[in-house]
Amino acid sequence: MAISRDEVLKVATLSRIRLSDAEVDRLASQLSSILAYVEKLGELDTDAVEPLAHPLPLRNVLRPDEPKPSLSPQDAVGGAPDAADNFFRVPRVLDDGTGA
């Protein structure tokens, strides 16, 4: 199944990856051929088959709710490109109400 340029752009936005025009074209072609290959799964009748998301039958593996040492706040933000006062600093997200 071919994937169009528009769909590639839509998926790129969802994936948060900026693409040049040339990259969009190349990806449209490559993704189309990969999707054509995976179409073969349609040959198999799986109506009566439950999906298998995970190989192990483990569920809800929890430990007692006792606080234990973890990463310090400094370590947690230490690898960030921009951090201040144990916060990750990012461009403004919210409108400040002035209409700006």
Partner: protein
């Protein structure tokens, strides 16, 4: 003496007897690396000072009569997608993490250190473990020691090449669709992907969380058993870690498996299989028959083409979710120019991710998106269950399944980079193991023309590593390929 021509097991004995020190072994490893790295590029970072200090410390402890652990003083290498909190970067072969330093160490790294291993450096990989040739590394490919114009395989190409070229006797890699077994086959070494959940993934940078597993590379089965013993076992920090304690793999290694029924799947010997690879694998099967094993024809109808299609939907979907965290906020690279938050994400990821990573993230996003989820991801998850059922049925009739690890020997650098699908098909015999969560091992079984190694894959049911290693050892006792060395090790290249 040439310490790096010893196996890890032989090094242990020599060190226990006082014939070899940890410092000598480490120095020899670092010298070999210095000599061969310009040709091979197995490593992304090295820690010579830390390694020497550690080796000296191990020697001192041994001199005081202290227990130095299973791997005391043995030089080892680890793939650069394992977090190490030693001040060195953990790059995952990606520009987006090029300078990132992990604030904690992976479970397996802690286990190696607890068992006295000397970690000499971190090895090259396809970016975020996505690839079958190590050509997707943002920092240049690794070359196959048997032919420097060819790939070592991937994604754990650096670890495989480091062991094959005798820089270290032991290395760890990770395997999501074949990334230990395939480079092991192409580099002529032993590589094992354990049962899902046997080795903790805590600190392994996630690619596909229901498929990823860490495993050993070594030149011999005994060494692989030793390294697996050192790192396997329950870890409370990984909620997918199997609770039961694993067996002592080295202890039972020399016991042959008798009777031994070997399943030979017809789907693993079909179109696309190189004649020389088939020849070497069939000779190996013949060797097993001479040892008393019985070959049984089996069929795994969903384990090849359907498995590749399943894998490239399941793994990419999981990857799109796992790699969403690389957004220029929490770790690694942030773009320098952007108008707003969304653009910051989009530029940071575009600048930081290579082509293959982008392709897979986008494929996964598409397969999970509204309107496509049922037809792609969910469909693939149903076929995944069919693949597992194929193996369950086979293991009711046979003890292990055998076939080639890869369809061809090592291919040339650049040969398969034009068409992604051509590269994906390298994993045709390996992906079904990861999808089923079962164990698989690649064992050297000969050479194709040009002196290129061939790997025999031995697949076992979940938690069958002990048996797999014993079965592999049966062949290794009869047919020894480990004396043959790649040209750079003989001073020929």
């Amino acid at each position: 003496m040439a310490p790096l021509n010893l196996t890890a097991c032989q090094m242990r004995e020599a060190m226990a007897k006082g014939d070899l020190s940890a410092r000598e072994a480490t120095d020899a490893s670092l010298e070999t690396i210095e000599r061969l790295e310009p040709k091979i590029h197995a490593f992304l970072s090295l820690s010579p000072q830390t390694a020497r200090r550690r080796a000296t410390e191990i020697d001192d402890r041994r001199a005081r009569g202290e227990d130095v652990g299973l791997l005391g003083g043995i030089p080892v290498a680890i793939k650069d997608n394992f977090c190490t909190a030693d001040g060195r970067p953990t790059t995952c072969g990606s520009r987006i993490l090029e300078r990132w330093k992990a604030p904690y160490s992976a479970h397996v790294v802690e286990r190696l250190e607890a068992e006295g291993a000397v970690i000499v450096g971190k090895t090259n990989l396809d970016e975020f473990a996505m690839g079958s040739s190590t050509e997707n590394s943002a920092f240049g490919p690794t070359r196959n020691p048997w032919d420097l114009e060819r790939v070592p395989g991937g994604s754990s190409g650096g670890s495989a090449a480091a062991v094959a070229s005798r820089m270290v006797p032991l290395a760890l890699g990770s395997d999501t669709g074949g990334s230990i077994r395939q480079p092991a086959a192409l580099c002529g070494v032993v590589g094992l992907k354990p049962t899902y959940g046997l080795v903790s993934r805590y600190g392994l940078v996630a690619f596909a969380s229901s498929l990823d597993q860490i495993g050993p590379f070594a030149r011999t089965v005994g060494d692989a058993a030793l390294l697996l013993r050192a790192v396997a076992g329950h870890d409370g920090r990984d909620s997918t870690s199997i609770p039961q304690a694993p067996p002592d793999y080295p202890a039972t290694l020399e016991e042959p498996v008798q009777p031994l029924r070997i399943g030979v799947p017809k789907e693993f010997f079909g179109e696309g299989l190189d004649a020389a690879v088939e020849g070497a694998v069939r000779e190996a099967l013949g060797a097993y028959e001479r040892l008393g094993a019985r070959l049984v024809d089996v069929s795994l109808p969903h384990a090849t083409d359907y498995a590749i299609a399943t894998y490239y939907l399941v793994a990419t979907s999981e990857a799109s979710s796992n790699l969403a965290r690389y957004d220029g906020v929490h770790y690694g690279r942030r773009a320098s120019e952007y108008a707003d938050m969304i653009e910051m994400y989009m530029r940071s990821r575009a600048e930081g991710f290579g082509d293959e990573v982008r392709r897979r993230v986008m494929l996964g996003t598409y397969a999970l998106s509204a309107g496509y989820y049922d037809a792609y991801y969910k469909k693939a998850a149903r076929v995944r269950r069919l693949i597992r059922r194929d193996y369950e049925a086979a293991f009711r009739r046979v003890d292990v399944v055998m076939g080639p690890t890869t369809p061809t020997p090592a291919f040339r650098l650049g040969e398969k980079t034009d068409d992604p699908l051509t590269m994906y098909l390298c994993d045709v015999y390996t992906v079904s193991c990861n999808l089923s969560g079962i164990a698989g091992l690649s064992l050297p079984c000969g050479f194709a023309k040009g002196g290129l190694p061939v790997g025999l894959q031995i697949i076992g049911d979940a938690m069958s590593e002990e048996r797999l290693l014993r079965v592999a050892r049966m062949y290794e006792r009869e047919v020894n390929w480990t004396e043959r060395r790649p040209p750079p090790c003989d001073g020929k290249a």
